[in-house]
Symmetry: C2
Subunit: 350 residues, 2 copies
């Protein structure tokens, strides 16, 4: 990705740390009224609004753990690093307003590589109307590390925590699941093919949706807007970064409730179903454990069902129960299977 | 540091990512009224205050670049990682209120090592009365990476940017300079002695202040309070993380002014002067280029001089000039030397 192109390569040390930050951030424009001072001082300055709460979230992406530059172009990586944080802001039912980005990078990366990374960051900022207000750029002894902090705003009567789900609430998910994980399977298979035969021309047309879900995920800002328009306030909400089972368990644990999840209700794209057949994988298992879908999972009171009914973006996949009933998957064959977290864990021994 | 102790070692993978975060953060208590929801949801939630601005700053510390675990105990590292960010908040003349911390760590670190790191983070939170409200813990393919974001508050009439210095303003520094850099020289010398003779017992008594400045720096929260009590509003302010020359250049560039800095006014501790003689280093050069002192550098109107005069924590070291006059050091011998940034740059070729 970085090595095989023959374009200009400018050494990072030619610009220095401050020159580099100026160079990479000069194209960014301020969009949010609350951004008083962005990049360029000891800290960014944001104006307050007494009626709104501020939300803050942060994520760290590490080369070799969260991404592989062998098939993740740097522009996509920059985009995705922003999206995963915005997704956490939207999971509070909040509007994202500002981000900071810190990058540690070894000298083997030319300035042009960081430009590509910041192009992706910039694109995400433009599309989601958030301001880049600060950050840090430093060297790394090995590999690339990206830390993003996102800030958002939400009025007190709209904020959605993980802990508000009640017995009998409906469990709802946005969009569809398992696409990002299957996209990764496709990309890893192509990488192996490429290693054996570098001249192979992959035909990925049947998998475009899956690859896009993996390489260019979107955060559901539109769903936060939709819920406000529908006058639905989720009783609890979380984003699906690690897989449906892990996120359901977080909601149940924080809200002290149980849950019945219906296998036949889990929304899957036809490309997911086809790819699962091809790879001989169970699509329900992938939806439960795959991760990186960045859809929103939330609960609503049964009284709100009529407001969301029939909306193609929202699928009711289960309901909350008394805590003593536990957390179960009700299969297509009407068997009740306890759900255990099998989401992604970066610390698991490989 | 990590390898030579014989205490219990718990593998990180035994706890998993969420168990680990719970385990490391359970001792933290909320101190700030503005912290509505801390660790444990998709994002932290902070209440706003319409009369105050929020400030946000972030820093990334990378093993082998910013610290060497050979002589930096993990508890000190955790402490310092918080301090460097709080220092940026105080440099806005703001009060620090919350932090988030993200850690990437390889499996070679046992849970006990992370506990030591979080002990230091906890101590800094307690002493500076800031709340840990979020973060991310993930694995790393090599080494330890710490990303801290700090949030603070300041009223609009107190915020101090870098760009407000005027011609004839006085240049003031808190505390004294060059201690942290000389502490690092001492520690690096002792590391070499230890490598040659592991049984050598170092006598570091003559250097205790210097070593503390390097291993356990403090941020000048007290100076923000003092300036408010003295009813002095800095016209511009920055913290000294990279060295006096680099910070003066930042203030001059942002404020579009020049500066005369007087060599004989630069405050130095006697231990710095002694160590510089021992290492055959010029103390002025170290103060200009050494970095990591985390003192505050600010400008005040000449009218405010009587308010700070005689305060042992504040030293007037120069004055701002017309931009056409440039930035100069006036030496003890009354020679005028142009100041160039020679601060620390993590990207410089070594």
């Amino acid at each position: 990705m970085l090595e095989d192109k023959n374009h200009t390569r400018t050494s990072i040390s030619e610009l220095g740390e401050f020159g580099l930050i100026d160079h990479l951030t000069k194209q960014f424009r301020v969009e949010q009224k609350s951004t008083v001072m962005g990049v360029g001082d000891d800290a960014a300055v944001l104006s307050g609004n007494s009626k709104k709460l501020k939300v803050v979230t942060t994520d760290l992406l590490v080369e070799g753990v969260h991404f592989d530059l062998g098939y993740m172009p740097l522009k996509h990586l920059g985009y995705k690093a922003v999206i995963v944080n915005l997704s956490d802001v939207y999971a509070m039912n909040a509007e994202a307003t500002q981000i900071t980005t810190s990058i540690a990078v070894s000298n083997r990366f030319p300035v042009e590589a960081l430009e590509a990374l910041y192009e992706g960051i910039h694109l995400a900022c433009q599309l989601y109307k958030v301001d880049l207000v600060g950050g840090d750029t430093t060297s790394s002894t090995s590999g690339l590390i990206i830390s993003v902090t996102a800030i958002g705003e939400v009025s007190e009567d709209r904020v959605a925590y993980r802990n508000g789900a009640k017995n009998n609430d409906l469990l709802v998910v946005t969009g569809d699941l398992a696409g990002a994980y299957m996209g990764l399977q496709i990309l890893e298979r192509e990488k192996q093919v490429f290693q054996v035969n570098p001249n192979a021309q992959p035909d990925l047309e049947a998998y475009t949706y899956l690859i896009e879900r993996q390489l260019k995920p979107e955060a559901r800002k539109d769903m936060v807007t939709l819920l406000r328009e529908l006058e639905v306030k989720p009783t609890s909400m979380i984003d699906i970064s690690d897989g449906l089972s892990s996120e359901i368990m977080h909601l149940c644990k924080a809200s002290k409730v149980g849950c019945n999840l219906y296998e036949d209700k889990i929304p899957l794209d036809p490309q997911v179903i086809n790819a699962c057949e091809e790879f001989n994988l169970d699509s329900t298992t992938i939806a439960l454990s795959g991760g990186e879908d960045y859809e929103l999972l939330f609960t609503i009171s049964g009284d709100d069902y009529s407001k969301i009914k029939g909306n193609p973006n929202l699928t009711v996949i289960g309901h909350m129960t008394a805590p003593s009933e536990g957390i179960h998957l009700i299969t297509r064959g009407n068997t009740k299977i306890p759900i255990k977290a099998r989401g992604w864990n970066s610390f698991s021994e490989k």
